[in-house]
Amino acid sequence: MAHNSHSSHAADHSELGHIIPFAVYRNVLIILLILTIITVAVSRVDFGVLNIVVAMAIASVKAGIVAAYFMHLKYENPIIWIYVLFPIILLFLMMGGIFVDNPTRRDPKIYYEVPAATENQSATNH
């Protein structure tokens, strides 16, 4: 469990990081560049509300590849996985909590032009 070995001698090579062949790095770079072009190309197509979803999905694939290969996450200890997932979950919780609030307000609007006191009547609520 704990990596606290008693020997203080030079460690066996395999106890450190994983070595990945050069070809993998090269292929990953090529895939990433292609995906970048796809992102730009796809943004010319209008999917309506899904625009942002598509863009973020492609970005997530790219980010996943970078993390898995460039950052060696694929070969890492599960504890590191947990600490990578945790902030992402928190990001969604944060967004989720705030999206439970603002869109469901009675009057979910920020009035750029100040309604003067006398005109407040016009701001009805639903």
Binding site: Y111, A117, N120, Q121, N125
Partner: protein, 430 residues
């Protein structure tokens, strides 16, 4: 036990109090039970005679863990559900409720009624009718809190929030600002007056004050405000120096300020001096003497005041108080305390001496009579009749510690009889 919530003045108040009291009872029960058993354990199984006795190695119990997970869960769900349901009712604004607009501003509350009537610092609503408040702010966050109605909602600039309630009894209730909003947060108060339906209708349609103000020239309105708001206590119209600078030929003058800079007295300076008097103090005058009138005067009144000050080009006698002179017979018919109160109001004692305990420019009159204390020169005083009489005629001779010698003498303005009446009045202010 522990029933401290204020009186219930809205129709859902008793429901809020019900759930509140339920929580109180549950809390008290569990606190007493748990803390009680802890103390009992501590006493029963205390170490005796300085020797440890053998203890069993009890490491836990799945059954008990389950019990004290499930029981609090059930109680939580029960309380949460009722809190939810009652909250739902508190937030379910009736469609047909007449709307009053509430606008918060540092540090005052403005109200706008459906027929266009405006008030500041006082919200008036009819009894037994739902009323909806549609609220916003002109500057920062505030929060509108009526304890007796059990309602509260923050007020946000550039957004609208709302709340509603249905008052069930007439009377006057406090309104607090409960979201910190800067210097005078604690004086951002208002009152809620609940009237009977007939009284409310009469009040709503009585717009004589506004009409009068609208008819007047701004400078004339300003003149009236000069005495009404008690400016005359500290600012003369004839160039004489009182607590604050005279208004004579004030407009357009270059004033040297206490911080060494100079300022030209223009509309901006006058306006900020009324709403934020301590920001720019004229050299030679004491700071922190003048209370802020922010929230106490409307924009129109502010404008009128400035117009009035601009108009003082020639020395003038201080205008007589705008209060109608009572005829002698009416005065004679009053009790001494009533006459004293009249003097307190018309002679502008009211400007500097509060009745509610708050220190203004001078000490409060609340509980003053008979009180003893320290004077600025280190000696002590007892506020008996002689002391008060002396303070009216020769105020500078005995100044209470912590206050500035700001009060003018009333020699020649108040007769001995008047002072006696005033003392009688003071005796009643406890």
């Amino acid at each position: 036990m522990f029933r401290y919530l204020p009186e219930q003045a809205s129709d859902f108040a008793h429901k809020v109090d019900w759930i509140n009291n339920l929580i109180t009872d549950i809390s008290v029960f569990f606190t007493v039970a748990i803390v009680g058993s802890m103390i009992a354990f501590a006493i029963i199984w205390r170490k005796r005679d300085g020797k440890d006795h053998e203890t069993p190695r009890i490491e836990g119990s799945h059954f008990l863990e389950a019990v004290w997970t499930i029981v609090p869960t059930i109680i939580s769900i029960y309380v949460a559900a009722y809190g939810y349901v009652i909250f739902d009712e508190m937030r379910d604004i009736p469609e047909d409720a007449p709307t009053v607009n509430v606008t918060g501003q540092m540090w005052r509350w403005d109200f706008l009624y459906p027929n266009g009537k405006k008030t500041t610092g006082e919200l008036v609503v009819p009894v037994d009718e739902p009323v909806k408040l549609l609220m916003t702010s002109r500057d920062v966050l505030h929060s509108f809190f009526i304890p007796a109605m059990r309602v509260k909602m923050d007020v946000i600039p550039k957004q609208f929030t709302s709340l509603w309630f249905r008052p069930v009894k007439t009377g006057e209730y406090r309104v607090f600002c409960t979201e910190y909003c800067g210097r005078d947060h604690s004086s951002m108060l208002a009152s809620l007056r609940v009237l009977s339906k007939a009284d409310y209708e009469r009040w709503l349609n009585d717009r004589s004050d506004e009409a009068k103000a609208a008819r007047m020239k701004p400078a004339d309105l300003g003149k009236e405000l000069y005495t009404q708001k008690g400016c005359n206590a500290c600012h003369s119209l004839d160039g004489s120096r009182l607590v604050g600078p005279s208004f004579l030929k004030l407009y357009g003058k270059e004033e040297a300020l206490a911080d060494g800079t100079t300022v030209k007295v223009d509309e901006n300076y006058l306006s900020s001096s009324i709403t934020n008097p301590n920001a720019q103090i004229v050299a030679g005058f004491p700071p922190n003497m003048m209370p802020s009138f922010a929230g106490q005067v409307t924009d129109d009144e502010l404008f009128a005041m400035i117009e009035f000050i601009k108009s003082i080009e020639e020395p003038q006698q201080a205008a007589p108080a705008a209060v109608v002179q009572e005829d002698a017979a009416a005065l004679a018919a009053m009790s001494p305390e009533q006459r004293g109160k009249r003097i307190y109001e018309t002679k502008l004692c009211i400007t500097c001496h509060s009745l509610d305990g708050s220190p203004l420019v001078g000490p409060t009159f609340k509980g003053l009579y008979g009180k003893s204390g320290k004077l600025a020169d280190g000696s002590t005083y007892v506020a008996d009749e002689e002391y008060i009489r002396n303070s009216v005629y020769d105020p500078a001779s005995k100044v209470v510690e912590g206050f500035a010698p700001a009060m003018p003498s009333f020699q020649g303005q108040l007769s001995e009889e008047d002072v006696k009446d005033l003392i009688e009045f003071l005796k009643t202010v406890k």
